[in-house]
Amino acid sequence: MPNVIEVDGIVKRYGDLVALDQLSLEVQAGEIYGLLGPNGSGKSTAIYCMLALLTHERGEVRIFGQTMRPDSYDSKRRIGVVMQDVAVFGPLTVEENIDFFCGLYVRDRAERKRLVADAIDFAGLGDFRKFLPAKLSGGLLRRLNIACGIAHRPDLIFLDEPTVAVDPQSRNNILEGLEELNRQGTTIVYTTHYMEEVEQICDRIGILDHGQLIAEGTADELKGMISSGDTITIELQDPNDAVIQALRELDFVSQLESSEGRIEIQTRHGERRLDSVLATLAAHDTAYSSIYAQKPTLNTVFLEITGRALRDHD
């Protein structure tokens, strides 16, 4: 697959603060690339630099094979942007807003009318086309924000935290809609600090912290990079020190915490850990009410790489 975006060693400073530190990444055509990082990690700055809206001190951005400049109109025509802040005009109705922003890209009126109707359907705003933005709920407003960014059917869409402050149902609708766009061939760059979202929709993920891309790959590849394995949780019916000690001595256990019959075991990376735990419980004739294993999350990955949780900054 050809690269749609090539970012090569971008450095962006705000005074003494280095917002982007030698950021390099590539996004292939047809993929959903997730840029994950805590608030303030440089995600929005990275997008604005890619769009040639912000100056940067060093590095280069190429989109569709062309160096991105403010006057790269051919490339810009194929790009859609959904801002973190809702970017619609309050005095205009839903339909007028979508038509206005679509009209910045599409001149033909008949084509634009069709595209606006499609965008309204896509965002599920059919019943609200004559509403002013102020009359919409938070979720609908976010959907309008997205509709304004994608109405002109771009080949590449940047979405900067589009689901902030959105209820779970609207969030699912948005994510499903994005997956549908992707199935139709649109390349998507998606920034968020919600790890569940990137795990759900992204083909590849870049983890950004302090302006640096600290890890990149698929969700499984990222989890494979760390030493942490599954987390196994057991609810014991009759806890005793002997079985806890036996569990602690298993060679793949990196950490064990016990509290009032609930044991949480952090394992090292590897396969078939649950079998060994069950065997140990059986050997000590210990009854349990529940036992389950959880795969490591991207938060675990971020925690292990940076020593901080993704949500620490929220």
Binding site: A52, K76, P91, F100, Y105
Partner: protein, 382 residues
């Protein structure tokens, strides 16, 4: 793209009641309040003059009797006698159109602050008194009112023979109460300045560092100068419509009598004021980081500048003109007020031309500064 942007931005501005209120409704409301409290633009105001009480004046009772006679008769002249300093102050305060000093050799010296029809009438009045002194004295002795009528008739003849054009007669019909008229004209200037809010609103919509909408517009494939041009056209259109409505209000509701041949001049003044105001709004919008602060500054500046232009008190305008002429020169409200005033009372086109030049220069300088800043294509901060 130009017209697409223009159409929607025009609509977005029109659907913001606070902008239309300040640029159009508020000045009209104030005009109505002025109309109800101090009356409208008057068309037949008297001509006020005084005789200075000096030694030559007091040597004879001719002048004091003449004052009584003229005031008692049905003429537009209203005379009084005042000490020299009071006469001077009254002239500066626009309470007098001129005052006479009786010289030791009985000549009358007329002191005025500006030229115009009332001053011409006074000049004729003085000439008539000087030339027909014996006849006037005789009339004052036995025929009350006759001296006044003689002077009025002679002054009219004098006027017709010296300037004698229809223009003067039309102008005479339009002579109004200048202080009150200044209120309305400065109100017109204030409306234009308030309209600068349209420009601030447009800059907010355009600039990526001021609004999310601006960021979205800036990443679209649009040529910046075309975008700026479209936006400026939106502001000019809105401001011009608001100003023309106000002008129509002054003409039809407040009975401003404008000769047809002068209508284009009023339109040009409106256009120049609109241009300057749009440029002021653009500069505020570009250089003041927070749009709300820019709106606040604009409202404050509009009120101050129209106050300096005489909106509340004509004396303030006079004092600013006398002591801080540079402030008057850079005050668009004063330039608009003065242009309308000069056109309305004196048809002084050279002075109107100077006012227009100042307004256009202000618009060009400030507009250029704003456009240079707006032309940037990348931002250091967002």
């Amino acid at each position: 793209m130009f017209w697409h942007f223009y159409r929607y931005r025009l609509l977005a501005n029109l659907k913001q009641p606070q902008l239309v209120f300040w640029a159009l409704v508020f000045p009209l409301l104030l005009a109505i309040v002025f109309q109800l409290t101090i009356g409208g633009i008057q068309t037949d105001r008297p001509i006020h003059a005084a005789f200075v009480e000096n030694e030559a004046f007091s040597e004879t009772d001719v002048y004091s009797r003449l004052i009584d006679d003229v005031n008692a008769a049905d003429t537009p002249l209203k005379l009084r006698q005042l000490p020299a300093e009071e006469a001077r102050q009254a002239l500066f305060a626009n309470e007098l159109d001129g005052y006479f000093i009786v010289e030791a050799d009985s000549r009358l010296t007329l002191h005025v602050m500006r030229s115009g029809l009332p001053q011409s009438v006074l000049q004729s009045f003085g000439t008539t008194i000087e030339q027909r002194r014996a006849q006037i004295e005789a009339l004052l002795e036995g025929n009350p009112g006759q001296a006044a009528r003689l002077i009025a008739a002679t002054a009219e003849e004098e006027l017709e023979s010296s300037r004698g054009s229809e223009k003067d007669i039309e102008a005479a019909e339009r002579v109004g109460n200048s202080a009150q008229t200044v209120y309305f004209f400065s109100l017109f200037g204030m409306g234009a300045l308030f309209g600068a809010s349209f420009a601030i609103n447009e800059i907010e919509a355009l600039e990526a560092n001021k609004s999310a909408e601006g960021r979205r517009i800036r990443v679209a494939p649009l040529h910046h100068m075309r975008l700026i041009g479209s936006s400026f056209a939106v502001v000019l259109s809105l401001l011009l419509v608001c100003q023309l409505v106000q002008l129509a209000f002054i003409i039809w509701i407040q009975n401003l009598v404008i000769p047809p041949q002068l209508v284009p001049w009023y339109l040009v003044i409106t256009l120049a004021g609109t241009f300057a105001s749009a440029a002021i709004g653009a500069v505020l919008g570009v250089f003041v980081r927070k749009p709300d602060l820019a709106f606040g500054i604009n409202v404050g500046l509009s009120l101050i500048m129209s106050f300096f232009a005489g909106m509340m008190n004509d004396q303030v305008r006079y004092n600013i003109n006398t002591h801080f002429p540079w402030l008057s020169a850079i005050n668009p409200a004063e330039q608009m007020t003065d242009a309308l005033y000069s056109l309305y009372y004196y048809e002084d086109l050279s002075r109107v031309g100077r006012n227009l030049l100042m307004l256009v220069a202000m618009g060009l300088v400030l507009g250029t500064v704003a456009v240079l800043k707006l032309r940037r294509q990348r931002y250091v901060h967002l």
